[in-house]
Symmetry: C2
Subunit: 462 residues, 2 copies
């Protein structure tokens, strides 16, 4: 059979599902809008229970057996429905979103979804609520056309992904049988700036901390305190400076001990990917990169295979307009460390504390706000091949494989405890603005993701 004929045959197979997906798009977007209008801000513990209940209802009305399972943090929504084959596909998603601040930069309010110019804008439409509803839309196509699903489908939808999935690891360990599956589709994915669908494999780990200092019981007049008393803001600046200098090297002893350099296969896969330097510069409005990087495979390898120490926020003293002559009694910083194999957040946390103590910053408190270890899936796993190849019909070409990405997520227990290959696929695109004002999705990619998922499920079910 020629490649052409195979393609023709497949198109016929999927016509009924694709038609359903196209014809019922408005209803699916309406469902997404309802979901995105429900705030579920992890960091602010805002609307999480309500959102979990809403997600549960959405699954239950499709015949899933649904459990909304409490944890010490936000509840986890678990759902399963049997299908025709014995195989089981597990979808991992999350219903929590990033804080919407700074609010003044949103063109329309973050929790009032707004459809304009083929895009739907709202906090969480891309990360991650659009992925949930697009996948449900694909399942609806099977249920409408065939009355059943091609294979067993499970969902595990957590509410703490944006706050480092603090309780998910324990949840998975406690529910290994319930979550048993053959493969997993991750919560995100999408096309790059060329419109090429990307297979992102492997996530960095994270260790997120808040550093805080308190030097006095009250803010001081800076005329009194400046010459003779400790300033919390200065203590914080010096402690931070001890973590990393302008050479971008993290100064915590042992920080790099467990770092595995990229393999030759990683280098090959990245070398096959297009240049991103100019794309990044334009997208983020930056003039240059750090560490002397200019582009090419070295930029891409640095982006994902080097661990980081990032200040995510600083706060101390007077921050309003004009001047206030005050010496702050308190100062704090949010800091995230992105970890690469085989670093571990608990180990980094221990080394951070030891470093601060050794450098004379025993007064700097470290609060652990969450973390997870890095994990990777083999780019040559058969399930990855299904997901990569079945993109061809929808996107006009197979996915390109990115063996590791810079972001983090709780894939470690899925890979190492449940033993699953984890593939990414999604509706993201470079201007999707996840974690930033004006987060949005493109409706055309929403449809493509649903059609891609229909093909993955069918092929996997065989």
């Amino acid at each position: 059979m020629s490649r052409y004929l195979l393609s023709e045959k497949k198109m016929t197979d999927f016509k009924k599902y694709d038609t359903f997906i196209d014809q019922n798009l408005d209803a699916s977007l309406a469902e997404l809008s309802r979901l995105a209008a429900q705030p579920s801000v992890g960091a602010q513990k805002w609307g999480l229970d309500e959102c979990a209940a809403l997600v549960g209802e959405m699954l239950a009305k499709r015949g899933f057996r649904v459990e909304v399972i409490p944890t010490e943090g936000a509840p986890v929504v678990f759902a399963e429905r049997k299908g025709m084959s014995d195989k089981t596909l597990l979808f991992y998603n999350h219903y929590d979103v990033q804080p919407p601040e700074p609010l003044e930069l949103w063109e329309t309010p973050p929790f009032e979804p707004s459809l304009r110019d083929g895009k739907l804008y709202a906090r969480g439409v891309s990360d991650d609520k659009g992925h949930i509803t697009s996948r449900l839309h694909a399942l609806d196509a099977f249920l409408a056309a065939d009355g059943e699903l091609p294979c067993n489908i499970k969902f595990v939808i957590e509410g703490e992904e944006e706050t480092s999935s603090v309780h998910l690891h324990d949840f998975i360990l406690a529910n290994k049988d319930k979550l048993a599956a053959d493969a997993c589709i991750w919560e995100f994915g999408g096309v790059d700036h060329r419109e090429v669908p990307m297979q992102y494999l492997g996530l960095r780990g994270i260790c997120y901390v808040e550093l805080s200092v308190e030097t006095a019981s009250t803010d001081l007049h800076s005329g009194t305190g400046g010459s003779i008393m400790e300033n919390a803001a200065w203590r914080l600046v010096w402690a931070l400076n001890s973590l990393k200098g302008p050479d971008e090297k993290v100064r915590i002893p042992g920080f790099y001990d467990d770092v595995k350099p990229p393999s030759e296969r990683d280098r090959q896969l990245f070398a096959a990917l297009p240049e991103v330097a100019e794309v990044y510069k334009k997208q983020y409005g930056v003039k240059k990169f750090i560490k002397g990087l200019s582009g090419g495979v070295e930029l891409r390898l640095a982006e994902v295979f080097e661990p980081t120490c990032t200040i995510c926020g600083l706060t101390s003293g007077y921050q309003g307009p004009g001047s206030k002559t005050v010496q702050p009694a308190k100062a704090s910083a949010k800091v995230d460390f992105r970890l690469v194999p085989d670093q571990h957040p608990q180990d980094i946390l221990k080394k951070l504390r030891a470093h601060l103590d050794a450098e004379g910053f025993a007064d700097v408190q470290v609060e652990f706000l969450g973390g997870e270890p890095p994990a990777r899936t083999d780019p040559d796993d058969p399930f990855i091949k299904i997901v990569v190849d079945s993109a061809s019909e929808v996107f006009g070409q197979p996915m390109e494989i990115v063996p590791m990405v810079g972001g983090s997520g709780p894939n470690h227990p899925f890979v190492h405890d449940l033993g699953l290959p984890v593939a990414t696929a999604g509706l993201g695109y470079p201007d999707t603005r996840a974690h930033a004002p004006n987060e949005n999705i493109r409706v055309d990619l929403y449809v493509k993701h649903a059609k891609h998922m229909a093909r993955v499920i069918k092929e996997f079910a065989k």
Copy 2:
């Protein structure tokens, strides 16, 4: 005449004024409450014109010729009234106040004056509105008893003291004739922790700047940006760290060039003052001092004769509860330098810019938010002697002389352009909380300040 008899005689002289001050206290506190209820936050440009107008009315109703004179910033209230002698005493005050934030730490709202336990609480009651009304209360005593003032009295009441008196220096240069006088009473003063009235002579200068960095057009996901793109918060931390290290030495080349060390007379005067180490520790909740200081004359000299570099505020990225994985595109810090004779703010500003450029921080913007040079009055000036000695009857002892204080104010043009001796006197006390939540005055000290001022004016008028 024995000392005892002199004292007896003086008491008789002042009885009518003291009686007036005591019997009309409620009316004066009501006037202060009205003034403090009028917000006049310099940094936020809130209520300044309204407050200037109110102060003008208060003076006009006492027969002063009042001018509310516009500047490029907040207006200056100038007022004068002739008296019996040819001598002219100039009062310098200000009607602007510090921002009230953090609001949640106030026991009663900052602009709703609240009298409890012999104290009046509100933003600005101590710094500086209480000084204005207490002085007016003393003048009322003369007007009520004698129908006229003992000498010519002028007031210059500005509205930018809390924002570094940006336009006052030019105002004074442009109005030297109008402001001509023989001596000046400064806006503040008070008793120390022993209840001893203090004569504070000399103020440090100040150079207040905002440092800011912008590294990208939008905040980045920290998973993307951390490894390859500049982080505004890190740039700021490193730039700040280049200004001063944990050894507390300012690293800007030339910063200390013009610093005059304290004289032997300064050292003597400070040695005569009581120990403050334990007082400060208790008052501010600090365990130790910086620079290895432990107390004694060295602590006191360091407090006022060493220039500072103080971070007054830090702001960048996410500052809310929990975690947000964002790499900030913007970061800024408020920094004040307290200057000692003969440093000059414009010179420090130039050296700061040159230093940042030389250290690789050309990307760090420096905004000058205000400044003034340091200035001192000779502790042996005859006017200082009048103010110091006339405290005896009211406070039970003469004032103790502090030859230099840590705070700043625009005394330089008064001392160097108008050629006046500048004495301090006031109603402050250690727990007055100027610049902090729950700012307050003690009513007993309010009364004492009015009585002290009555004596100073009478003695000066001779």
